[in-house]
């Protein structure tokens, strides 16, 4: 397999200085990334998840050449990112979910023209890539609109297009769906899937939204306290974490807790009941059973969030350690 991104015992240590008095400072070392090793093959789509402050962003910053690793070996497309930042820049695309590369006061198209010239993209290639992004990300009506007037979802689509005009081989996305509504999320996910399958672009994304991972990534890496806790398919992660989904049902009237194994009622509030069931079970079968036996008015299914999955994973590890 063609390893496109290679990390070998990469670490990043920050010196944190805290003021403890006049001129007195306490120095402390924080290992943001602690001896992480993994490889990503060309064309893979990988989810990189973990709680806040786990070291996700630090890893992305090292992969893009923003930060220099304190130790270990790191290569992207054979390039050492921290040494050849500008050469690497032509081959990677980066989208920071909460920071934009677009020009606030100018029409969207102006930002793309800047990319065209700054990255020296050949004219024909630029036109072709722009047309494709405009079509797939539905930007045609937005090109002449100043960026400050775009909604968050529109701006995010605009940012993704800006990161792809120079044909990067790998796209890093830091929280690409944060704050977006359901429709915008679906558009962004659809586009990324298409980009990955049609163009073979390698994608590495960090997210808090487990659905991003479920719908996009065949592989997921979990990082916490700077260490890689899990690396494998999402299904495996569910097993490791034994995560549960929640079915919320509204009944016609108040009733005793629903009996429908393997689901169990975790909360009752008037006619509304919360049923937890294993994430690997089909929601449809459960809904059919409940609907057949109870007077159902409304329902919704809640996906487990990443924090819950990871928390369960830890609980499991702790139990193993005790027994």
């Amino acid at each position: 397999m063609d390893a496109f991104i290679e990390l070998d015992r990469v670490e990043k240590v920050f010196d944190v200085r805290k003021k403890t008095g006049f001129l007195k400072r306490e120095r402390r070392q924080v290992r943001a990334v602690d001896s992480i090793s993994f490889t990503v093959a060309r064309g893979e789509m990988v989810g990189y998840i973990g709680p806040n402050g786990a070291g996700k962003s630090t890893t992305i910053k090292m992969l893009t050449g923003i930060l220099t690793p304190s130790g270990g070996r790191l290569r992207v497309a054979g390039i050492d990112p921290s040494r050849e930042r500008t050469r690497l820049a032509h081959r990677i695309g980066v989208v920071f979910g909460q920071r934009t590369t677009l020009w606030w006061d100018l029409p969207l198209i102006d930002s793309y023209r800047l990319m065209h010239r700054m990255y020296r993209i050949p004219d024909a290639r630029y036109r072709e890539n722009l047309d494709r992004c405009v079509e797939l990300l539905e930007l045609v009506d937005l090109l002449d609109v100043p960026v400050r007037q775009l909604s968050l979802g529109q701006r995010m689509r605009g940012d993704i297009a800006a990161a792809l005009l120079h044909d990067p081989e790998v796209l890093y996305l830091d929280e690409p769906t944060i704050g977006l509504d359901v429709i915008s999320k679906a558009k962004v996910r659809g586009f990324l899937r298409e980009l990955n399958t049609e163009r073979g672009t390698t994608v590495l994304l960090t997210t808090h939204d487990l659905q991003d991972i479920e719908q996009l990534c065949s592989r997921v890496m979990v990082i916490d306290h700077g260490r890689l806790m899990y690396d494998g398919p999402l299904a495996g992660l569910h097993e490791v974490g034994e995560s549960e989904r929640t079915l919320v049902v509204d009944l016609e009237r108040e009733l005793p807790p629903i009996v429908a194994a393997p689901a169990r009622v975790v909360r009752v509030e008037g006619p509304r009941q919360w049923l937890a069931f294993p994430a690997s079970e089909s929601a449809a079968a459960l809904v059919a059973r409940v609907a057949a036996e109870y007077p159902l008015v409304d329902l919704s299914v809640r996906e487990p969030d990443i924090e819950a999955v990871i928390a369960k994973m830890y609980a499991g590890e702790a139990e193993k350690a005790v027994s």
């Binding site: 893009t64 923003i66 990677i92 920071f96 100018l106 700054m118 990255y119």
Partner: protein, 273 residues
């Protein structure tokens, strides 16, 4: 070879980004015109202040009005050029705090050029205009036996001092990376520096002048070469050729500033803050 191509890349990136900021400013046309006018009025008032002072005193430290105007015009023009080219480098601190500095680091262009062109504003031409008008008037009013060397020295002084101010801006930006919120400290060096240079050296104490001449090479911007052009004694006992050293001082400052910038960027990339 590699260095010259990097310089070319930097100039190119600078032009591209400055162009985007000009277009951004143009989207608010009225505001653009108003700030431009306000800027001209403000800088004009500065000079009126000096005129008022001279209506009370005939000379300041033995220097007459045209001579003060000569110092003032040189200093303001040079500072105006540096301010136009790199004047927004003090936004670097806020860019680091809000994380948008990272976006500049993933683009294929030198970071210094990108941050130098940040918030590029045409309204800063106001200061240059005012400086050149005053300088022009001073040049026609001072009583000087113009020699080829003196004529050559005037543009050389402007360019060298602009370069020195630019170096101070860059060093200040590098310092901001180390000290996070130091734009105020930087302003003390640059804006404070221009106010100082608009008055002749004999007003200040000798120790102070010595400190400024050697600690901060800013004095070369004005006093020494200006004293040569005006045929006055140097503020300190320096050899005659000292008036022609500004370009060398400028190159040395630029080199030091370049090193400081490199160290600052390196520190950012190893600390992330």
């Amino acid at each position: 070879m590699a260095e010259t191509s990097r310089l070319g890349e930097g100039v190119r990136a600078y032009r591209l980004i400055a162009g985007m900021w000009i277009r951004s400013a143009m989207t608010y046309r009225t505001s653009f015109v108003v700030t431009m006018c306000a800027n001209l009025v403000m800088t004009g008032l500065d000079f009126v202040g000096i005129l008022l002072m001279f209506s009370q005193v005939d000379s300041l430290g033995g220097w007459g009005l045209p001579e003060i105007a000569f110092l003032y015009g040189l200093s303001v023009t040079a500072f105006g050029i540096a301010d136009l080219v790199l004047g927004s480098m003090d936004v670097l601190g806020s860019r680091i705090r809000d994380g948008s500095f990272d976006i500049l680091l993933v683009r294929p262009a030198p970071v210094l050029a990108q941050i130098g062109a940040d918030r590029f504003a045409v309204r800063r031409l106001g200061r240059i205009t005012q400086g050149t008008v005053v300088l022009g008037w001073a040049l026609t009013s001072v009583e000087v036996d113009w020699s080829a060397a003196k004529v050559l020295l005037v543009p050389l002084m402007v360019v060298s001092s602009a370069a020195i101010f630019c170096a101070v801006f860059v060093a200040g930006a590098a310092f901001q990376i180390f000290a996070q919120d130091a734009s105020e400290v930087q302003n003390a060096f640059t804006y404070g520096g221009t106010t100082l240079l608009q008055y002749p050296p004999t007003v200040f104490g000798k120790d102070f002048v010595r400190g400024v001449t050697f600690v901060l090479p800013l004095a070369f911007v004005n006093w020494v070469p200006a004293s040569y052009v005006l045929g006055r004694p140097y503020p300190l006992e320096l050899p005659g050729w000292a008036a022609f050293t500004p370009p060398l001082v400028a190159v040395a400052c630029a080199a030091l500033a370049g090193l400081a910038w490199r160290a600052g960027l390196g520190s950012y990339r190893s600390t992330g803050s």
